[in-house]
Symmetry: C3
Subunit: 158 residues, 3 copies
C-alpha cells in the first residue's frame, strides 16, 4: 500500500506554497498519495485567476475578494517581500537556475493526481464560490480533513 502525505495549506505565501508544491510533485514521483487541504489564506492558491466574480456576495466579501491575490502568481513572499521587490529578486534567481515557476509546479501537481480539497468554513467566511476555484477542488469539512490526516504517514501545517 502507498504511503500518504497530507499538507494543510494555510498561509498562501509564494515561497511556502512553492516548497509545498515541490514536495507534492516529488511525493507523487515516489508514488506517495498526496492530499492538499486549502484553508484561510491558502484558498488564494486555488482561485482560478480568470473566474473571479462579484455576483451574490456581501460588501465585505467583494472588498476582500478584490484586495487579495487572484491565483498563485500574485501571492506575496512570507518575508523580505518588500512591496514585491524581494519577490522579483527571487523570481530572477529562479529563472537564472531554470527553476520552473509556481504555476508550473501547481499544474504538475494537478496532472500527477494530487488531491485538492478546499475548507468549507473558509470558503463560506471568505465568500468564495466553488466555480471561482480550480475545477479539481472539492469542498470538504474540517472533519473530513482530520480523518484523512490522522490516517496519513506525515502531516505538515504550511
Amino acid at each position: 500500500m502507498n504511503k500518504k502525505m497530507n499538507l494543510l495549506m494555510f498561509s498562501g505565501d509564494y515561497d511556502k506554497v512553492l516548497a509545498a508544491l515541490i514536495l507534492a510533485n516529488t511525493a507523487r514521483e515516489l508514488e506517495v498519495d498526496v492530499t492538499m487541504f486549502f484553508a484561510f489564506w491558502g484558498l488564494f492558491i486555488i482561485r482560478d485567476p480568470e473566474k473571479a466574480t462579484l455576483a451574490d456576495k456581501t460588501v465585505y466579501e467583494k472588498m476582500f475578494g478584490m484586495v487579495t491575490p487572484k491565483g498563485p502568481e500574485e501571492l506575496p513572499l512570507s518575508k523580505m517581500n518588500m512591496v514585491g521587490l524581494g519577490k522579483q529578486m527571487l523570481l530572477e534567481m529562479m529563472e537564472d537556475d531554470k527553476t520552473p515557476s509556481l504555476t508550473d509546479f501547481l499544474n504538475g501537481a494537478r496532472k500527477k493526481g494530487v488531491k485538492f480539497y478546499g475548507c468549507k468554513l473558509s470558503v463560506e467566511v471568505m465568500g468564495f464560490k466553488e466555480e471561482e476555484l480550480l475545477p479539481e477542488v472539492e469542498i470538504i469539512t474540517a472533519k473530513d480533513y482530520l480523518i484523512n490526516a490522522l490516517d496519513s504517514d506525515m502531516q505538515l501545517f504550511i
Copy 2:
C-alpha cells in the same frame, strides 16, 4: 484505543489559532485525544484577560506583559492585519456567516477535554506566572511535550 493529535501552538496569530481550535474541537467530536502545547507567542492565547499582574516581575517582563495581547480576542492576524482593519473585516465576515468567535472555540475546547500545556521555558523567559494563565493549563517541559508528540498519530507546528 483513541487516535491522538498533538498541536504545538507557537505563533499566537488570531487566524492560525482559530484554525487550530476548530481542528481541536472537531477532533474531540471524533473522540481523538487532543493535546495543545503553548510556547512562545502561543502563550498569549491562554493568558486569562482578568488576571494580568505586575507583581514579582523584572522591568522587561512588565513591559513585555503590557505590550503583548492579553487573551485570545486581542491576538493579531498573521497577515493583512493592517493595524486591526483586516482583522475587523474578518470578524465581520465571520459574523455574517454566524461563525462562533475564537473565545467560543477556546471555551469549547476546554469543555470537551482538550489537554492544555504551557511550555516551562517560555513561561520563565516571558515572566508569566501560572496564576495568570487559564486554570486548565499545566506547565510542562520540552521533554514532556516530545514524549507526548512522538506517541501521537499526527503533530502540527502552528
Copy 3:
C-alpha cells in the same frame, strides 16, 4: 529501535529556530534520531558567519547574500521584531533567566549528532556554495528529504 523526528526548517526566524533547536537537543537526550532539513530562509541558520564569499556568483546572488542574515545570531524574530528592538528585549529576558543562546543550542545539536541537511534546490537558487555552510551540512534533494520524513515518527514544518 530509536524513534525518529524530522524537522523541515523553512522560516529562518530567530524565535522559531530557537524552539526547533531546543526540541532537537531534547530529542537527542531522549535518544531520538533527529534530522533537520534546511530550505529557503532556513539556510541562513547554517551559514558559517566567517565563510561568506562573493566568488562565482551572479549579481542577484551577491546582493541576496549581502542583505540576508549571516548565521544564527543575525536572524530576526517572526513577530514584534521592531527593527531589532523586540529581539533585544527577548535576548535580555533570556539572559535574565540564564537561558543559553541560539548559537549554544546550535552547537549542542551539532555535538549531539543531529543530522543537518541542506536543500539542493534552495542552495542553487540562492547561490550559496557548500563551503559557506557549516561543515556538518550535507546537500540533499527534496526526494531524499521525503524518504526520510515519511519514515519518521513525527515531522514538523517550522
